[in-house]
């Protein structure tokens, strides 16, 4: 197992170099001069311009710039944001908990509803539940989530007035940041109503971000379950005189979850893409919104650093999913 992880990590190195190369060249291809942009509308003297060019290293040949940038990267220095003047690494990880909290809730939402729905649909194949669930899943799978978000806002915030439209918590509440996770921090603050406020802010974004993963997981669980239910060992389990519930929950589910876990892992990329839209619509102060803002602000170092960090996270999650896969599937565990 340990050797397997090491080998996988080794495979990630070329990908990491590639990712940083892509991010590096992307921002050098972006239109507009970063230094002029930094100077703002007041303009800039030629001396100051040259000085700034030198300070950012833009006067060096491209390959030297890359070497410097890559060495910094490996040492954890992702550069400094032009608009906030803060280190990108710090800025990223100040915002990251918000995205993580939202994504985590969305995955939980998708798994908690999707896995049982898929299992029941498979067990009660061709029942009205199966048909309804799969039709719903197909609609969810085809959903333009930015529109879905607007619809939910119209209904739940506009018409019913149940949920707030933006942000992570009502502005009434003010407390120190401890973990960065609003659900936990609001509880720690001890302020009455803070937790409820955080939850109500989280509901709509969670549903929006979780919709596509929910649909994908439900569909995948159903088809994996159908395949497993036809296996010989399920017949053996029935021949042991086990209850239908035990056959499904103990013998079928665990085998069916093996491909489902891969699916959930693959949803992380989808989730990050979804976070960009969801966070923008709900003004959720996470990295998705930050990336979009940085792109619009032409904050090159932020875009560059953000791309690398997000790619690193996606790669890390994929690695974890692979290991999890080995954990639930004894066949793979022993192969390695």
């Amino acid at each position: 197992m340990f050797g397997f992880i090491l080998r996988r990590l080794g495979l990630l190195i070329p990908t990491f170099i590639g990712v940083s190369l892509v991010a590096f060249f992307f921002i050098r291809l972006l239109p507009g001069d970063p230094v002029l942009l930094l100077a703002g509308e007041r303009g800039i003297s030629p001396e100051r311009y040259a000085e700034l060019m030198h300070r950012f290293g833009f006067d060096l040949p491209l390959w030297q710039q890359f070497i410097t940038y890559f060495t910094d990267l490996v040492q954890g220095d992702f550069g400094t944001s032009i608009s906030t003047k803060k280190p990108i690494f710090t800025e990223f990880f100040t915002l990251f908990p918000a995205t993580l909290e939202l994504s985590f809730c969305a995955v939980i939402f998708a798994v908690v509803l999707g896995v049982p729905a898929g299992v029941i649909a498979a067990v009660k194949r061709n029942s009205w539940f199966d048909h309804t669930a799969m039709a719903t899943a197909l609609v969810g799978y085809s959903m333009p989530i930015f529109w879905w978000a607007l619809l939910l806002i119209i209904v739940f915030s506009g018409m019913l007035g149940w949920t707030p439209v933006s942000g992570r918590i009502s502005l009434m509440f003010f407390f120190p940041k401890v973990t960065g996770f609003m659900l936990i921090d609001s509880l720690l603050s001890g302020k009455a109503g803070a937790f409820q406020s955080a939850v109500s802010h989280l509901i709509l974004p969670t549903i929006v971000l979780g919709t596509i993963p929910l649909a994908v997981i439900a569909r995948q669980t159903r088809s994996a379950m159908l395949e497993v239910l036809g296996e010989d060992y399920i017949r053996t389990a029935k021949a042991k005189g086990l209850s239908p519930f035990r056959v499904v929950a103990v013998h079928a589910l665990r085998n069916a979850l093996i491909p489902v876990i891969t699916t959930i892992g693959l949803q992380i990329g989808v989730l990050m893409a979804g976070a960009i839209l969801t966070e923008t619509i709900f003004s959720w102060p996470g990295i998705g919104k930050w990336m979009v803002d940085s792109i619009f602000r032409r904050d090159y170092p932020a875009v560059q650093g953000g791309l690398v960090l997000i790619a690193l996270i996606v790669m890390g999650v994929n690695l974890v999913v692979d290991m999890l896969y080995g954990l639930v599937n004894p066949k793979i565990r022993h192969q390695r």
Partner: protein
Amino acid sequence: MPILEISNLSVDFRTVGGQFRAVDGVSMTVEPGEIVSIVGESGSGKSVSMLALMGLLPWTATITADKMMFDGKDLLTIPARERRRIVGKDLAMIFQEPMSSLNPCYTVGWQIGEVLKVHLGLDKRARRDRTVELLELVGIPSAAERLDTYPHQMSGGMNQRVMIAMAIACNPKLLIADEPTTALDVTIQAQILDLLAKLQRETGMALVLITHDMGVVAETANRVSVQYAGQKVEEQPVSELFADPHHPYTAALLSALPERATTRRLPSIPGVVPGQYDRPSGCLFSPRCAFVTERCVEKAPVTQGQAAGYALCHYPLNQGKPVGHPGPAAILDRRLSA
């Protein structure tokens, strides 16, 4: 009193092309401590009747029977919950593919222990001890160390031993072995058969052995039921069957055995078991039979008496001669045209 009594069992499957009758009016009894073998080619419905008994058929199957009694309980009317108390405990079954019949996600020790927990309510300690005992009983070396291995880490023969251990865990009164050796190497086949016979002798359970291998039948069974295309075509004690088969199909199966071959080339039965779409009218074996006449094609035969081995045939054989047959001139030359 027989431990198992089935009469006139039929199983129909709903398929895209309409109803398909996989088992057609089969009857059989098994006495306690007896080894009965069901023989037939693939597709003859021999497994299906036993799966019906176990309640393991998919929902597309419809089961009808005059009688299906096991150990004094009517399996036709029994509620599912009651049946689950019998299945796996008093009535156990092992299957053809040992490699895929065990759950790949759990250790073999756990899978055997599960039966002990569900049916006997043994605690963890007792389960462990009994599992080791069972594994030793089925001839798995260093049993205690094998508890934590997964099915894919063992050979097919070993897995089949585990399946047997699981099946006999609660001392069943009847064990159904569905082609238990077909997927195994030839050397392992004999070991598994010996093991089954030994366990049957030691525990006194009844054994139904489903196979397509007449050699296996000769070595182990007391009584043989021959099935063809979902019908029982003959039933006799094993020695009588080998000495004097009454159905042409049985006779053809026996003459295909290498030990019994009289010619340099091994005889074979032309054609295959009819499927859903090529079911003949009249006798189902008529397209492949060496004695087929006009009557065989037109009219379905009735079951003969005990003296004729309950043969389902118009002209049951007696010492190789078809009784009441109009003579070679009446034999239709269908086999060549088919």
